[in-house]
Symmetry: D2
Subunit: 354 residues, 4 copies
C-alpha cells in the first residue's frame, strides 16, 4: 500500500463529478488528502478563493467539506500542489485537449469522457474529434487503457491514461464478454442489447429531452443503430457491427441502467455451465455480483458500486436472456474511476467502494 | 344555444395550449369548426401552409386533426376567417400587447396569462408591465373580467375580455371564498395556503428547475411571500397581505395541484354548517365537486375539468384544514377557459368538459 | 347505425373497468343508456341499491354519473334489464365460469381476461383451467374470436364471444404481423420482443411487486420465457416458440407499454418498402397510428386509444428495430373492447374512441 | 473512546432496518463486530443457520456481508453473544413487549417504534397500548429518554432506553424548538406544520395506500388532526393542541420529508436575529445543517444523515415560513438511532454518519 496521493477533479459540478467527489472524500486511503476541485470560476468567486463545494452540491455539505472549494482551473494549480492523479469528468472535446497536457506535466489521468476509449478510427468517427489523425493524438491514444478492471486489470495497473468506460458499455460488455470469450455465443445469429438508462445519463444541461415533462411517465428509444457507445461494445466484446444491435432507452428514473441481452448459443447449454463461465470469469472481480437465482433489478444496484448480472436460459438451452444492472453514475462512471485508481495504486480494488 | 362560432388559439405549442386544443376539438357545440392555430412559424413550414398539429403534439394525431396546422400568426388571418373568440395561451408580455389589438379588431379574448387579472396596480407591480399606467392599458383593464365563473358568472357572460385565473389562484380562491364570504373566518388570525403543483405549471422551457434530475424524487418550496398569484388571492378573496401566507411547492409529478389551507373561525363551527356554506355557494357550479366524507387527492382530479374541495374540522370547531385539488392544465387553465367560453356563449357551463 | 343497446360491465372496480366505464359513459351511440355495473356488493350497500360509482372512482364523479351504482351481480339483473352485450373485466377463472352462462342467456360477451384467447391447448396449459378439455369449454372456445379488429374484423362483426387481447400481446402482434404476413422476416434468425409496461398492468391487488417502494425508481424483467401472453404471440403472429423471445419488464410509471422488437429480414429492405407494408396492412384500421419519421414514445400513446408503431432500419437493410406503444388500459384493454363493440354493432370502428 | 461493543438489530427486513444494518456495518468504531440480526425465521431457514442478509437485501450484498444471516430471535442468542445495545425496528406493540425484557437482561435498547416516546398518558392514548397503566410499563417509561440528541444529549448519554423519535416529529421539532424556546413565537396565533413524506414512511406492508397506482402521480393529505406523531410535537416543543395544526401528506417519492412550518412572532424580527437563534441552538449539533441563503429541498437531504433547516421571513418581520428536510429512513429513523448510539457510547456524535 503506497502512501497517500493527491488527486484532483475537473468537472465536479456534474452528476458523475459529484459522486466522484463523495467517493474520494470518503476513501479510507485518501484520508487527510481531499481532492483538489478545479474548473471555470467567475472573477467574483475567484476573489473569495473559489466556490464552496457545499454551495455547488448542498447534499455534500458537512464538517468534512467545510473548507473545500472549486478553484480556478490551471496547470500551475495542479503542479504546485503535486497532483498525482487527475480525474476528468468533462465533455469529450475538453478531455481531448486536456489529457495530452496533463500527461506532459507528468500527471496520470483517469478520463471519464469518451475521448480516448476507442482504438479504431472508424469507431471514433462518430465523435468527430478535431485532432483525430494528428501524431499527438495517436501517441496519446496508444497510451490509453480501457478502464474496465475486469478485462484489463494488469494494463490499468501501469497505465498513465485510463479511459473510463461508458455507462451503457460497462453494462453490456460485462454481461457478454464472459460468454463470448468462452466461445459459446453464435455471433452470426445476432446479439440484441436492449438497454434502459435513468436520466442522469443524459447530463445536467437542461434540454427538451431532460425536461421533467418529457422524461416522466415516459419511455423512449433513441440512437437506434447510431449510439456512441456502440464502438466500445464492438472493440471490447470483439464482434462486428452486423453481429449486435444496441438500443438505448430513456427511463423515467434518476439513475440506474438495466440491459436485457439476448444471445443464441452454438450448442445447447445448462444453467450450471453458463453459471460456471461467469463465476470463473469474475472470480477475482470484487465489483461484479452474480445472481444465481433471481434476476438483478435496478433498485438493488443503484447507490452501490457494483455491476449485477443474472440470466435465464430458454428451455431449449439454445438461447439466454442476460440481465445486467448498475448505477450509471457509479459503476458506470465514478466508482469505476475509483476502482481504476485503486488498481493503479496497487490498493485493494474495492477500497472505498463498499 | 347560439350557432357555431369560430375560435382561434395562439400558444398551442405549450402544455395548456395542447389541452385547450384537445378540448375545443371535442367540444360538441364546435363540431365542424375546429379552432385556428396561429403562432410563430418558420419560412419553410409557412411554405407548406404551416406545421401539422400532429407533428407538434403526436398524442393529438388522428383522423380528426389530419389537416389541421399551426399557421403563421397575423390579424388578417383571424379577421378573414371570422374569428369570434381568441384564446391566448401566451406569455403575459405577449398578451399585454395582443389583447388590445384583438379587441380593436372586434374579437373577444380569453387570455390565459397573468396580463389582465389584477385590478390593483400595487398587485400588478410584480409583473413589471411596460405599458402599465398608459391610458390604453387602463381602458383594457377596465373591460377585463376575472374568469372564474363560480364568482363572476354574470360579468363573464357579457365580457369582451376574460382574464383566465392562475392555476394556484383557482385552487386557493375556490376553497376560501365561500367561508370568507360567509364571514366565518377570523382573518386576523391569519390564513395559510400551502400549495403543491406538478411540473407542467413551470412551463415548457427547459431550465435547471424543470430538469428531471431537479424535480424528480424531490419537493421544494419557492416564491415564499413573493409568488405572482398572491395578488389574485388578495383581490378575489378580499383579504390583505398580512392576513394570508401562500407558499407554492414543486411536486415531482407532471400535473395537478393540491392546496392545503388552514383557517381559524370566529366561532366554533360544525361539519354540517361548513358543509352547508360550501354547498350553497357552489349550488349552480357544475365544475366544483364537494367531498363530504373523504379529502380530495390529486389522482382523482387530474385529467378532469373539476375543482375538488373537502375539509376537516378540528375537534374544537375553531379551526379547519381545507384541501383543494385540480388539474393545473385544465381547471387551472384550459378547461376553465372553455368554461368561460361556454358562459360567454350562453351554453351550458359544463359543455364539452365532462 | 343500429338503435341504442344495453351494455353491462362486471369488474368496474379495477383499472381497466374504470376506463371502460368512462368510455361507455361518453360513447356517442350509447347516450341515454349507461352501462349496468354489477359485482360483489356487501349487504349494507345492497340495501341502499348498490355502491355509487362516484364512491368507487371519485375521478368519474359528476352530473352524468350521479345516480349510477354498482349493483349486486345476478343473471336476473342482466336478463330483466335486457342486456345485449356484457363486458367482463374479471379474473380469467371468473370468465371461464361466467362466459358460458352469459352465452346461454343469449347475451353477447366481450371478455377482457385471458380465459378464451387461446385455441391451442398447449398454449392454454399455462392457465391451468379447471374445465379445460370439457365439451362445454371446447364449444365455447370454438365460438370465441380473438378481438383484434386489425386482424379479425369480419369474424368479430358476427361474433357472440370476443376474447379481448392481452396488453403486451396487442403491442407485439400489431408491430410484427404485417412484416411476418408479408413474408419478409427470417423467422429462423429469431425475433426478440423486449416489452416494458407500467404498473397498472399488474392489477389492483396490493402485493410486494405493486408496492410503490418496489416499482418506483426501478426496472425489473420478469416472466422470462414463461409469460402468459406468449401463446397469443405464437397463435396470432404464426410463429413457434423457438422463433421468438418475449421479455416483459415492469416500468415505474402508472400506464403505457413500449415494445422494442428486433427482426432480421430474408433480403435487404428499404425504409420505403417496410413503410409501405405497414401502411397497406393498416389502411382500414383507424386505431393504429404509423410513425414515418420519429419513433413512438409512451407519453404520446397513453390516454389515447391508439397503438403507435414506428421502426428504424439498419444501414445494412437486413435488420430492423420496431417500436410499438399503447396505453395498456385502453388499446391494451378497454378501448380495444369498445372498438370490438363498434365492430360487432356495425358502427364506425373509432366511434367514441378519439 | 470505548472498545468495540456488540449490537443487535430486530427488524432488519424493513426499510429502516436495512438502512440501520448498512450504517452499523460501515461504522468505523464497530469494525470487526457486525450486528447480530434476529427475527422470525422459518424452520427450513433456521436449519441452514438463518437467512443470508444478501438474500433479504440484495443491495447490501458484497464481501463484507458474505456470512451474515438473519437468525431466529431469542433472548439466549443475545445474552450468549454478549449484546450490549439492541436496536428494535419493530412495530410498537412488539416494542412494548420486548423492551422490558431486554432491560431485564441488562441490554440497553434503542427503540425505533412509537412505543416509549410519550410521557403523557393522554398523548399515548392514540396507540391503545394493552399494558398502559401497569406498574411495569410506568417503570420502563420512566427510564425512557426521547432520543433527539439536539434536545436531550446529556440524558441520552446515560440512558438505558432511548425512544428514537418519529420521522415527522423530528422534522417539525428541530425546526420549531429553537424559536419557541427563545420565546419568539406567538403560540396563541397558532402554528401550522404542513409535512410531506415519501412512501417508505408508510412501511413495507403492501396495502391499498402503498400501491404504486395509489401513490404515484398523486399527493394526499391524511391523519388531519389525528396523526400519532402529534403527541411528540406537543411534548417536545412544549405547546398544547390548540396551538398547532399538523398535517401529513403522502408524496410520490420513495424517501424524504419536507415540512413547511408557519409561525407568527410576538415582535417583528430580522433575518439576522432568527438566524442567530438557530445557529446558537445547534452550535454543538453536527447533524443539523442550517441554510442561510436558500431553502432546503428533499433532494439534498435524502441519502444523508442530516436534518436541513432554512427559513424565509415575511417583509413585515412578523411571520416566518420555516422549511425543514430530512431522510425519513435516516435522520428520521436509522441514522438518528446511530447518533444516539454514538452519544450513549461517548463517541463523536457524527461517527459513521457522514
Amino acid at each position: 500500500m503506497s502512501s497517500t496521493i493527491q488527486t484532483a477533479i475537473v468537472g465536479v459540478t456534474g452528476y458523475a463529478g459529484a459522486e466522484l467527489a463523495r467517493l474520494l472524500l470518503h476513501h479510507p486511503l485518501l484520508k487527510g488528502a481531499p481532492p483538489i476541485f478545479a474548473g471555470r470560476v467567475n472573477p467574483e468567486d475567484a476573489a473569495r478563493g473559489g466556490v464552496p463545494l457545499a454551495e455547488i452540491h448542498p447534499q455534500l455539505a458537512g464538517h468534512r467539506v467545510a473548507n473545500l472549494k472549486l478553484e480556478p482551473f490551471s496547470w500551475d494549480l495542479f503542479v504546485s500542489r503535486g497532483v498525482d492523479v487527475l480525474f476528468l469528468a468533462t465533455p469529450h472535446e475538453q478531455s481531448r485537449e486536456w489529457v495530452p497536457e496533463a500527461l506532459s506535466h507528468g500527471i496520470r489521468v483517469i478520463d471519464l469522457s469518451g475521448a480516448w476509449r476507442l482504438t479504431d478510427a472508424a469507431n471514433r468517427a462518430v465523435y468527430n474529434f478535431d485532432d483525430d489523425g494528428t501524431e499527438l493524438a495517436a501517441e496519446v491514444q496508444a497510451q490509453a487503457v480501457y478502464g474496465m478492471p475486469e478485462l484489463h486489470r494488469a494494463a490499468i495497473a501501469s497505465a498513465r491514461l485510463v479511459a473510463n468506460p461508458g455507462c451503457y458499455a460497462t453494462s453490456v460488455i460485462l454481461a457478454l464478454k464472459p460468454l463470448v470469450a468462452a466461445g459459446l455465443v453464435d455471433l452470426d445469429h445476432g446479439i440484441v442489447a436492449d438497454s434502459k438508462s435513468g436520466v442522469s445519463g443524459a447530463g445536467k444541461a437542461p434540454t427538451p429531452k431532460t425536461h421533467f415533462m418529457y422524461a416522466a411517465d415516459n419511455l423512449s428509444a433513441y440512437g437506434v443503430f447510431t449510439h456512441r457507445h456502440t464502438g466500445e461494445l464492438l472493440e471490447q466484446i470483439g464482434v462486428d457491427k452486423s453481429q449486435i444491435v444496441f438500443t438505448p432507452h430513456l427511463l423515467p428514473i434518476p439513475r440506474g441502467i438495466l440491459s436485457t441481452i439476448y444471445v443464441h448459443f452454438h450448442q445447447p447449454q445448462t444453467v450450471a455451465a453458463i453459471s460456471r463461465v461467469y463465476h470463473e470469469f469474475f472470480a477475482s472481480s470484487p465489483m461484479v455480483r452474480l445472481y444465481d437465482k433471481a434476476l438483478p433489478q435496478i433498485q438493488h444496484s443503484v447507490h452501490t458500486s457494483y455491476a449485477d448480472i443474472g440470466f435465464q436460459l430458454a428451455p431449449d438451452g439454445r438461447r439466454a436472456v442476460i440481465v445486467s444492472c448498475l448505477d450509471n453514475l457509479l459503476k458506470g462512471a465514478s466508482s469505476q474511476a475509483v476502482q481504476n485508481l485503486n488498481v493503479m495504486q496497487g490498493w485493494h480494488e474495492a477500497e472505498g467502494l463498499e
